[in-house]
Amino acid sequence: MLQIKDLHVSVGDKAILKGINLEIKPGEIHAIMGPNGSGKSTLSHILSGKSGYTVTGGSVTYQGKDLLDMAPEIRAREGVFLAFQYPVEIPGVSNIYLLKAALNSIRKHQGQSEVDAMDFLTLVKDKVRLLEMDEKFLYRAVNEGFSGGEKKRNEILQMAILEPKLCIMDETDSGLDIDALKIVSEGVNSLRSADRSFVMVTHYQRLLDYIKPDFVHVLAHGQIVKSGGAELALELEEKGYSWVEVDQAAA
């Protein structure tokens, strides 16, 4: 699904990612952990096509194609979805309007007709129920006046409706209360399938208790300094990042 090879990225003349290697197969869940400022969001942004970064080396292949060569909206239509760490507000544009426009642009790209109004409403209400949201959120302006947790849940609602192939979740758990974390996790689990992969950026084991990753990677100073199975996260929780960073320095 996704191959990242020796990826180097900088902002201005500041190097942020310094040789990332990562391979993600269909159906896999990869958790990415690491200290603040280590480059996790940068990696999410680079994969989804945000401007302002310079790729100084390496490559990213998505479903056999050069991902870095695609416009951000093309990546989205090809199935790359980013649940933002800080979702933006769009005053005056209702959630449901955005969802419909987004879904139709993706369907059009895939050669499908526009979604039927009734089918769309059924789909959306279904997912709203899945995430235990109030239907009122559909008619409110995108994220305007939403609480931090509501914004995060709204991101996952969009993900559930757009059904992407590669789901990148940047700290979706931060800001969610205990109950919400459980509900959102169950929502994500229901999306798991053999041809859908997940990249979950998180700081906390708690999320991984609900959504069990196949792999855990530690990103520090722009590099993946350690990779392992689900148990690595538990070890990190216990020992902190200094343990792997020191480990890396010793290696």
Partner: protein, 482 residues
């Protein structure tokens, strides 16, 4: 790559879909303006004597005036002797016209603009007066309106057939001495619509006028007068387009509204005159005086405008709130792209007791455009308990454009409550990226964000036109992002 600030500024082109020219034989005056031209104009329109006198008085006054310079717009002085003051498609003979007498090419032109005039196809529930250059070429549903007692006809026809109403009301809201362009208009106006709604009548359909400039080197001097008698109710809409030409053309209009006791007038404008090309060449100068007099108690006038066209827009639809408990509203979306300039806003003059006014203005600038809101809220000593609420929001697309706000407030009555809120925002790269990440192109994203920004105003438009206005905004923004 997504739309970075650089790219937003780069690709600026515009697609104007109404820019075609209709080839016709016309009766056109040679360029130039003097008293002889006014005599000729009045004669060709078969006007009563009092009208000629009114025009000449206005012309003499205009000659003593100077073109205003206070607005935040820039243009070369206009050579009024280089303009032709009358151009009309040739007709076999004068007199009342039916649809089959109209040149099929004109019918075709309106059809292309989405305004079919023939009996079978015309817009359901909307009566249309079609003004082509200096004359009205057709008015639909006249019979049905007549049954309701409503007069809806070209103003040139009203001059002949309802001279008493004209005498009583024309110039009573915007006097010929009001300002430079109003004086010019009073001297040389050619056509426009006349509406009279009798006492207690709720107009059975939307009324609308579609202004089309076709001829080159002419000015269009539109004059519209709407009178809503006691307890009556009317909703009126105007639309405007013009061909793409490299020369600037002048459209100097005067619109007067009179609302008597308990009457309601809703006046909506979708203005899409040719804005000029992406380098600022050509386009319409839209210099307009629009004013409503809420003469009676409990009367209400609501102006809603969506201004996307014109090289320069200079207009301030206003309400004089004379009657006690009368209400004035102004809802505006003004979008400027490329080198367009708009200086627009409103005046709310509170005279009667308990009068209230609401102003919602949304200005959008893209490209290198300048967009100015200029508004006056004036509360006279007599206006006890007057209230005003003003909200004035500007949205910038890119970083080469400008937004300016000049709110003037004069309050002479201590019990008045005047509130003013203003915001300026930019479409952020984060918003654009978010929308793109959901699969929308940058252009669709901008159009969606701008439409969201204008929502409070679109809500005020009659349904059919709200849809048109949204589509128009999308079109006018074409090329504003990369």
């Amino acid at each position: 790559m997504s739309a970075s600030a650089q790219e937003i500024n780069n690709l600026i082109s515009q697609d104007y879909k109404q820019g075609f020219v209709t080839e016709l034989e016309t009766d056109t005056f040679p360029p130039g303006l003097d008293e002889a031209v006014i005599h000729r104009l009045s004669k060709i329109k078969n006007e009563p004597e009092f009208m000629l006198e009114y025009r000449l008085k206005a012309f003499r006054h205009w000659q003593t005036m100077k073109s205003p310079e206070w607005a935040f717009v820039n243009f070369e002085p206009i050579d009024y002797q280089a303009i032709s003051y009358y151009s009309a498609p040739k007709r076999k003979e004068d007199g009342p016209k039916s649809l089959d007498e109209i040149d099929p090419q004109i019918l075709e032109a309106y059809k292309k603009l989405g305004i079919p005039l023939d009996e079978q196809e015309r817009l359901a529930g909307v009566a249309v007066d079609a003004v082509f250059d200096s004359v009205s070429v057709a008015t639909t549903f006249k019979g049905k309106l007549k049954d309701a007692g409503v007069i809806f006809c070209p103003i040139s026809e009203a001059l002949r057939e309802h001279p008493d109403l004209i005498k009583q009301y024309l110039g009573s809201v915007v006097p010929h001495t009001d300002n430079y362009f109003a004086a010019l208009n009073a001297a040389v106006f050619t056509d426009g619509s006349f509406v009279y709604i009798p006492k207690g009548v709720r107009c059975p359909m939307e009324l609308s006028t579609y202004f089309r400039i076709n001829a080159a080197n002419t000015g269009q001097f539109e004059r519209t007068l709407i009178i809503a008698d006691e307890g009556s109710h009317v909703s009126y809409l105007e639309g405007c387009t013009a061909p793409m030409r490299d020369e600037n053309q002048l459209h100097a209009a005067v619109v007067e509204l009179v609302a008597m006791k308990d009457a309601v007038i809703k006046y909506s404008t979708v203005q899409n005159w040719y804005p000029g090309d992406k380098n600022g060449l050509g386009g319409i100068y839209n210099f307009v005086t629009k004013r409503a007099d809420c003469r009676g108690e409990n009367s209400k006038v609501s102006w809603t405008q969506v201004e996307t066209g014109s090289a320069i827009t200079w207009k301030y639809p206003s309400c004089v709130l004379t009657g006690d408990n009368s209400t004035g509203e102004f809802y505006s979306v003004a979008l400027t792209n490329n080198y367009q300039q708009a200086d627009t806003g409103t005046k709310m003059i509170h005279i009667g007791k308990n009068t209230s006014s609401t102003i919602i203005s949304k200005g959008i600038s893209a490209g290198r455009a300048q967009n100015t809101y200029r508004g006056l809220v004036k509360v006279l000593k007599s206006a006890e308990n007057a209230r005003n609420y003003t909200q004035c929001d500007s949205l910038l697309v890119g970083d080469k454009c400008g937004a300016h706000t000049f709110p003037y407030i004069e309050v002479k009555q201590p019990s008045a409550q005047v509130e003013h809120e203003a915001t300026t925002s930019k479409i952020s790269e984060d918003q654009l990226f978010f929308c793109q990440q959901r699969g929308l192109s940058a252009e669709d994203a901008v159009s969606m964000i701008v439409n969201g920004f204008c929502k409070e105003v679109f809500r005020e438009l009659p349904m059919e036109f709200a849809v048109e206005a949204q589509a128009l905004l999308g079109l006018s923004l074409e090329g504003s992002v990369g």
